[in-house]
């Protein structure tokens, strides 16, 4: 039995709470929670949080930095990227163009995505309005075949 099992039921239940806490924090604060903030919010130990984050990272939806802090909770990025997403006066960072579209898809909100061409940085503003995508014309390029995406998720 893991430490998460002892005080919070199954690890899966704990991981669900941790996952929902992280997403709620990202949505509310427009940034990632620090690992040190999580035990108090979830009434658990730091060890339980770290173990839970490692399990979430196995799903690939979450990626941790070398220091153990969150790097990605897809579609959100914990660090600024070339993929900002504006919803009203609020702004989040996405990991890639798929995730930039994923933020309004996940939040079911209209959004403005001030993106640019990966080749020449030409401005390409995309808009999501009432569930439809409008704005710049263009294409999305995925560099790595699907079965190798997680060999190097940053390059993908």
């Amino acid at each position: 039995m893991t430490s998460a099992n002892k005080s919070h039921g199954t690890a899966s239940t704990f991981d669900d709470k941790l996952r929902q806490f992280i997403y709620a924090y990202f949505i509310r604060e427009q940034q990632a929670p620090r690992v040190a903030e999580m035990p108090a919010a979830l009434s658990c130990s730091l060890r339980e949080v770290k173990d839970g984050l490692k399990r979430l990272a196995q799903s690939h939806a979450f990626v941790l930095q070398e220091n153990g802090e969150l790097w990605r909770a897809a579609p959100f990025s914990a660090v600024p990227t070339a993929f900002p997403v504006e919803i009203g006066k609020r702004l989040w960072w996405a990991n890639c163009i798929w995730d930039a579209l994923g933020i309004p898809a996940m939040l079911h909100k209209d959004a403005r995505i001030p993106a640019s061409c990966g080749c020449c940085n030409y401005e390409m503003v995309l808009n999501v309005k009432q569930g439809k995508l409008t704005g710049a014309k263009g294409v999305i390029h995925i560099a790595v075949p699907a079965r190798r995406w997680y060999d190097d998720i940053v390059f993908t």
Partner: protein, 71 residues
């Protein structure tokens, strides 16, 4: 996964980085894929897609070539 003005700009980027061309999506497909992938992400019962579920999501928007095979 980057956005480009056109396939010509994809080719320029690939040459610049000495990479072969990967998979191309229209923006419409990209939006459909984002919706398939993320619309239920905040559900308490959300679970990562299994390989067959992910493959079915790709197929639903026409991504059936070898490039999109997960296994």
């Amino acid at each position: 996964m980057l956005l480009f003005r056109s396939e010509h700009h994809v080719d320029r980027w690939c040459a610049q980085w000495n990479r072969s061309r990967g998979g191309i999506l229209s923006l419409h497909q990209g939006w459909q894929l984002a919706t398939e992938w993320y619309a239920d992400r905040l559900s308490p019962s959300w679970r990562p897609k299994t390989v067959p579920e992910a493959q079915a999501a790709f197929a639903k928007i026409g991504l059936v070539e070898e490039f999109w095979k997960l296994a």
